[in-house]
C-alpha cells in the first residue's frame, strides 16, 4: 500500500516537472526557474533538494535543446566558450555562497532572492518579444581581439546574416552574475545570459538564445558537482525531475513553433510572476517579517498582485501596438 503511495508521489513530481519544463521552454526562462518554486511551494520539498534536482535537470534540457541548435549552426560555440570563463567562476562562487547561507540557517534569504530574480528576469523576457536584429554598433577593440564575429542562415528572412559582438568585457561581467545566480539558486539563469549577450555584446537574438542554451549546461555542470558533494541532490527527486523536465521542454519546443498568437504567452508570464511573489512571501514568512498570515492568504495575495501587474503590462504593450496602427492608418 505504501509502495503505491510512493509511486504516486514519484509520478506527481514527474507531472510537476513536465509542467515546469513546458512553461520554462515556452517563456524562454528554462525549466529550473519554474521547477524550484513548484517543488518548494507545492510539494513541500526543502529548498536545497529543490535546487539540487533543478540544477541537474537543467543540464538535461540544455543539452537536449542545444543539440538541435548547434546542428543548425546558429549557436556561436566560440563566443560561448569564451564567456564560460566568467559563468563557471560565478557558479563556483554562487554555489559556495549557498552552502554558506545554508550552514548559517539563513535559507529564507535565498527564497526572497529567488522571487526577486524571477520577477526581474520577466522584464527583459517580456520586452524582447518581436525584436530580432540588434541596432548597428561599431566594432571595438574586443571585437577583433576575441574574434567576436559570425554568421548564420535565417530561415524566416531567407538570407545569411553576418554579425559582430562588442564590449566583450561587459559581457563577461554580466556572465559572472549569471553564473553566480545559477549556483546560488539552482537554475540555468538563461534570462541573465541572454541579457549579457544581447544587451552587453549586441549580438542578434537568435545567436543569443541558442548560445545561452548550451552555455547553461556547462554552468550547471559546475554548480551540480559542488551540490553533489554537499548532499544537495536527493536521487529520488532528481531522477523524477530530470525525466519530467526533459519531456516538458520537448513538448514546449514543439508547441512554441506552432504558437502564432503571442498573447497566450502572457498567461504564462502571469503564472511566473505569481510564483515570484509567492517565493518572496514564503521567505519573509520564515522569519515572521511583517507578513505573518497563513499560506492560503499568501497564495491569494500573490495571485491578486500578479494578475493586476500582468494586466497593466499587457495593456501597456497593447496600447503601444494600437497607437502604432492608428498612426499608420
Amino acid at each position: 500500500m505504501t509502495l503505491i503511495l510512493i509511486i504516486v508521489k514519484f509520478l506527481t513530481i514527474i507531472f510537476g516537472s513536465i509542467i515546469a519544463g513546458f512553461i520554462g521552454s515556452l517563456t524562454g526562462l528554462g525549466g529550473g526557474t519554474v521547477l524550484v518554486p513548484v517543488l518548494t511551494l507545492f510539494y513541500g520539498i526543502p529548498f536545497i533538494f529543490a535546487a539540487g534536482a533543478s540544477l541537474i535537470s537543467t543540464i538535461a534540457t540544455s543539452a537536449g535543446s542545444a543539440s538541435a541548435y548547434t546542428k543548425k549552426k546558429i549557436a556561436n560555440i566560440k563566443i560561448g566558450i569564451g564567456l564560460e570563463i566568467a559563468t563557471t567562476t560565478g557558479a563556483i562562487v554562487g554555489s559556495l555562497t549557498l552552502v554558506f547561507i545554508d550552514k548559517q540557517d539563513l535559507i529564507w534569504i535565498v527564497y526572497v532572492i529567488f522571487g526577486l530574480v524571477l520577477l526581474f528576469s520577466l522584464i527583459p523576457t517580456i520586452k524582447k518579444i518581436g525584436k530580432e536584429v540588434p541596432p548597428e554598433m561599431k566594432p571595438d577593440w574586443s571585437t577583433k581581439l576575441f574574434q567576436l564575429t559570425g554568421s548564420y542562415y535565417d530561415e524566416r528572412l531567407r538570407k545569411t546574416i553576418k554579425y559582430h559582438g562588442v564590449r566583450w568585457w561587459l559581457g563577461e561581467i554580466v556572465m559572472f552574475f549569471a553564473g553566480f545566480v545559477s549556483g546560488l539558486l539552482g537554475i540555468g539563469s538563461g534570462a541573465l545570459k541572454v541579457l549579457g549577450m544581447d544587451w552587453a555584446m549586441n549580438l542578434p537574438m537568435k545567436v543569443t538564445t541558442t548560445s545561452s542554451n548550451f552555455m547553461i549546461g556547462i554552468t550547471a555542470a559546475t554548480g551540480s558537482s559542488i551540490y553533489w558533494y554537499e548532499g544537495y541532490i536527493n536521487l529520488f527527486i532528481a531522477a523524477a525531475t530530470a525525466i519530467g523536465v526533459l519531456i516538458g521542454a520537448f513538448f514546449g519546443a514543439k508547441v512554441l513553433v506552432k504558437i502564432s498568437n503571442e498573447n497566450i504567452r502572457w498567461i504564462f508570464f502571469a503564472i511566473l510572476s505569481f510564483l515570484g511573489f509567492d517565493m518572496v512571501f514564503k521567505g519573509l514568512h520564515m522569519i515572521n517579517f511583517i507578513i505573518t498570515f497563513s499560506l492560503m492568504i499568501q497564495f491569494f495575495i500573490s495571485i491578486i498582485i500578479s494578475i493586476v501587474l500582468i494586466s497593466i503590462l499587457f495593456y501597456n504593450s497593447k496600447r503601444k501596438e494600437w497607437s502604432d496602427k492608428n498612426e499608420k492608418s
Binding site: 505504501t2 509502495l3 510512493i6 509511486i7 508521489k9 514519484f10 513541500g44 526543502p46 533538494f49 539540487g52 541537474i56 543540464i59 538535461a60 540544455s62 543539452a63 537536449g64 542545444a66 543539440s67 538541435a68 548547434t70 546542428k71 549552426k73 549557436a75 560555440i77 566558450i81 564560460e84 570563463i85 563557471t88 567562476t89 557558479a91 563556483i92 554555489s95 559556495l96 552552502v99 581581439l145 576575441f146 574574434q147 548550451f214 549546461g217 556547462i218 555542470a221 559546475t222 554548480g223 551540480s224 558537482s225 559542488i226 553533489w228 558533494y229 554537499e230 548532499g231 544537495y232 541532490i233 536527493n234 536521487l235 529520488f236 532528481a238 531522477a239 530530470a242 525525466i243 526533459l246
Partner: protein, 133 residues
C-alpha cells in the same frame, strides 16, 4: 571554428549523453521500485524529504567509489548516480571538443580560454569538495 563539422559532432555528443543518462536513470528508478529501496535505505525513507534531509539520505551518502560494486549488485540508486554523472559530464565534452578544434585552428588565445573553463570545471569537481568536507 573553421571546421564546421565540429558543430555536428557536438550535437551528437549532447544527444548521446542525454540518451545514455536518461536510460540509466529510468532503469535505476525501475530497480529502485522493484527492490523497494537501495544502498541500505528503504523507499519510504528516501521519499520522505524531511526525514531524508535530517538523516543525510542524499548525494553525500552515495559513495562514488562504490559505483562499480553498486552496479554489479544491481542497486537502483547507483544506476541513477551513473545517469546523473553522465549528465554532468555531457556539457563538459563540448568544451573539450572546442578545445581540440581551437588547437587545430592554431587559435591559441581560445585554447587558453577553453583551458581556463576546463580548469574551473575540474576545480569545482575535485578541489572544492575537499574544502567542504
Amino acid at each position: 571554428m573553421k571546421n564546421h563539422d565540429d558543430e555536428v559532432i557536438i550535437s551528437y555528443f549532447l544527444k548521446a549523453g542525454v540518451l545514455i543518462s536518461v536510460s540509466f536513470i529510468i532503469v535505476g528508478v525501475i530497480i529502485l521500485f522493484v527492490k523497494n529501496g537501495g544502498d541500505g535505505f528503504t523507499l519510504s525513507q528516501m521519499s520522505n524529504y524531511n526525514y531524508a534531509l535530517a538523516h543525510g539520505i542524499d548525494s553525500k551518502s552515495v559513495s562514488l567509489n562504490k559505483i562499480l560494486s553498486g552496479l554489479s549488485a544491481i542497486d537502483g540508486l547507483y544506476f541513477i548516480t551513473v545517469g546523473l554523472w553522465v549528465l554532468i559530464f555531457t556539457p563538459i565534452t563540448v568544451v573539450f571538443i572546442g578545445w581540440v578544434s581551437f588547437l587545430d585552428d592554431k587559435n591559441y588565445l581560445y585554447v587558453g580560454m577553453a583551458s581556463i573553463v576546463l580548469f574551473n570545471l575540474f576545480f569545482a569537481m575535485l578541489v572544492v569538495p575537499r574544502f567542504l568536507i
